[in-house]
Symmetry: C3
Subunit: 391 residues, 3 copies
């Protein structure tokens, strides 16, 4: 492999053109560089130098494109700087290489977390959890991630008070104030697009912890990471998406991300009222991803590496409660499904679950959903590390 | 004396059979072992081996029974390992020896807390306060305890959101998720028995910080600890329990624990509508504890080492507000009561108080209730230390 | 200058006569002593020793007066102890010298905060934020200040639960409990005077983070600090106070503090319904501070060093909504105002703002309001340092 082949196009949403944490040199910046192994692959002891990143606006999306690689006698450690992650706003911002790099950091976090003498990598750093609506599970996961790395946290679960109707402060003004108190903002908001607005305003990194019906990119990342950890690969996998495919942003994001891998096949198993929408189907087709709808959960289970079950979201049915009840009971992951599944396959679920996975399944080693929740910790540790210290 | 004869009988509620924190060796595990001083008393420099603890189920309760103690030539420092505390669920789980051991650790915490350079004993450990109903006082006490020992905290006061009616997650699923983010769970719940269910599920230690009308074991421990600190002994004490003896779980637990000591006498002084119930009276009688009901607070005060006043709980009287008003004013601890009390005796109260202790009493050195609140900190520090690092 | 001329009278409200943190010696107590520079000014290598402070009550105010300077062969570092700050309760407690000393510490905090390896000055110290009403902005600012100095925090935003109507605990009892868990209390309360009551009760320092319509002294301090940082001086400045001057405690406190400086001139620019009240005007007159009312914002802007805009508080108008709408639109700081202003002048605002400053102003370097919010962090860091470690 020649250095020149290390070309890539890294599409990411960034709100500002300057590196957000550039002013904060860290003693840890040489640790955990997932790209260090590339050094030895570069001939002649020198490495690639990338053209300065350029920002170009394309409609609603801002693309950060690295230019063509120019081989010079530069030190190879610059490989670790070939892209800089400013914010985490939406699943679409990550290409395959970025995903791989994040997963490599996440794996190193697993070993850090398991030790009793935990890391002090982020000592002296403060994270603000700016939650405009409560989400205890997501908040605790981020706060644990920050503290497991030695950082500290400013918590708020009633951030609406900042911008109360009575006082009427804009999100932008709130962000400009809060960024003075902290090093990174993790934001949950009720409005789609709020995270992007915050990132555009902030001079410090912003992580979207869910903005309304929009995005929840760290959930999407942990899902893909879990598949790789459980199955050992992402290319060539067979995934059954089960349950509420119309309303679940989780399965939609997952389908989107899986399209980045080779030879993936996706099965959709869902009640008629909550079928996967055409936009995702069309997208998969355009990317050459095979997909198929099925009404036979057992047959799909027998073919898949991953059975990804989801909760039927009662709140979407409103007064049509009989439709909900019908949909809810239709596809249950139980012992029969386990019996149909292959030995190496796993059951996943974004949680919380009701009875769409029976409790008996919990005892089977193929029940991966609590490991999946734990992987959320590693992914968030990795993102905090990368956003604050770089690769 | 053979090592094998070092059997003992330690009855405690444990939810799981494996040591919960065994996988987490700590560099601090040799500090603050209250049993270290016993080493020198052991001849021949070798030690005892304990029978593996055995779990036996008895209806709703799980008992951990070691066999009878057999004294042999074992080194006494193993005394410190004779029992392992997995969870703190209910006052009944503690026998006298366990109480003494906890109190000894609590005393060592007093000196740690008073220093400006505080302990880093629990550095790297995370505690989650999973409060399904708010209790600011209890939560702050636990969080202070954790932080005074160098640990950190994940806080939630709206844990109900985890298991909202809309989403319907079980407590067990919540615990399986949260245990991935933290090293110990302190839980407050609105349902009796919730702490036991959490402990059964969790692979990390659980402390019950109150579960509905059920248990609040750390309050019971701090009450007994306070009596020992203030009076200097527990055997042979005279305690007057005053106020709402029917509804107060505090006085009920205290009576229960006092029965573990020798030659204790308890006086009950309460309005007729909130008298101590027969179950506790019968229990005391069965344990050979003398008790007596009295309507004369001054006379009881003159005889007691401890006057334990409690608040009449208005919320229990509902529409019978005149009964409440009558009960409320009946037994007040004021200067007259102080005048009747002996010099060495003390006034205790679980707080908050209304006017059942007049403010004038605060100035008397025998007013022990704020010291009692402070002792809650030491007890909680001790429990966190023991559950996370062992004895 | 002889040492004997270093006399001063330091008027401060203190709730208790003993030094609150005297029992807690700190290894950091020799750092950041703003008075160290005085050493070289003291002849003969020795310095002043101050008479023991004496407390004298004067009506509602307690004055702490240092006695006459006695020159002895004492080491000059004792200069750093010439006054001790016990609590921060109200803007009036600070004289000019104390303000200067606090600002000097605040400036040193700016350089601490900007470093990635932050200070551990307050390591081992705990601050409780006891908020009886939520104020996320103020709380986050204090918590960031504490954590930037290596300290830790116990948070509560529902402190009302401590003293719920049902349970009825007094503020004093709550303080006596909480002071056992922490080293300093930052309190927000809905009742005027609550902070003073808390400070009188507590044996640890108390900072008032706003008590009802009463005081919010740290806001007043950060405003004066910002003027000094932005304009470079306080004597001789021209300040335009604009907007709601009747209800805004911010502008009232600011006018009060500015009266401590020489040759200050204040312009009041406000709709008729929310004019500055006579008490402040009379106070300024009594202190020889020139002031003037004006209806011409552009003219005032052209003369001032500081244009201090405030929000018209809708909640004060109640049903008279048409009066509110009229007042609200009357004086807007926009590009026209900027154009009228001098180059060195600045726009300030306590935030949150609605549209009384247009967004276009944000881009002008003279827009100082977000820097002002950031200065709140430095002032709070300084106060925490001084209250816990001394000067």
């Amino acid at each position: 492999m020649s250095a020149a082949s290390l070309l890539f196009s890294c599409s990411m949403h960034v709100g500002v053109s300057h590196p957000k944490v550039a002013a904060k040199p860290s003693p840890c910046c040489l640790l955990n560089q997932p790209w260090n192994h590339l050094k030895s692959k570069t001939p002649f002891g020198h490495s690639g130098v990338f053209e300065k990143s350029k920002l170009s606006h394309k409609g609603d999306e801002i693309l950060w494109r690295a230019g063509a690689l120019q081989v010079e006698s530069a030190p190879s450690f610059s490989m670790g700087q070939k892209f800089h992650l400013h914010d985490v706003i939406e699943a679409q911002q990550f290409d395959r290489e970025t995903l791989n790099a994040i997963f490599e950091v996440a794996r190193s976090m697993e070993s850090i977390e398991s030790k009793s003498s935990r890391s002090q990598m982020l000592k002296g750093y403060l994270m603000a959890t700016l939650f405009y609506e409560p989400s205890t599970r997501t908040r605790l996961s981020f706060e644990s991630a920050m503290k497991r790395l030695g950082g500290d946290v400013l918590t708020t679960e009633n951030a609406r008070e900042f911008s109360s109707a009575a006082k009427g402060e804009t999100l932008e003004d709130t962000i400009r104030t809060v960024e003075g108190y902290t090093d990174i903002i993790v934001m949950r908001h009720f409005e789609s697009g709020a995270a992007k607005r915050a990132a555009t305003t902030a001079s410090i990194p912003v992580i979207n912890a869910g903005d309304g019906p929009g995005q929840h990119p760290t959930q999407a990342l942990l899902d893909v990471y879990t598949i790789e950890r459980e199955i050992g690969k992402l290319d060539g996998i067979r995934v059954g998406l089960v349950g509420d495919l119309a309303n679940g942003r989780t399965v939609r994001s997952l389908a989107y991300l899986l399209a980045k891998y080779q030879d993936v096949k996706i099965y959709f198993v869902s009640p008629n009222v909550v079928k996967m929408k055409d936009d995702i189907k069309d997208y998969l087709t355009s990317k050459g991803v095979e997909w198929e709808e099925s009404a036979d959960l057992l047959e799909v289970a027998s073919k898949c590496d991953v059975v990804y079950q989801t909760r039927i979201q009662k709140e979407r049915f409103r007064e049509k409660i009989e439709l909900y009840e019908e949909a809810r009971g239709k596809y249950i992951v139980n012992q029969d499904v386990l019996d149909a599944m292959q030995k190496h396959a796993v059951v996943m679920h974004p949680l919380p679950r009701l009875d769409e996975i029976t409790v008996e399944v919990d005892r089977d080693p193929r029940a991966a959903y609590f490991r999946q929740a734990k992987n959320g910790l590693y992914i968030r540790m990795a993102l905090l590390k990368v956003l604050l210290l770089g690769w």
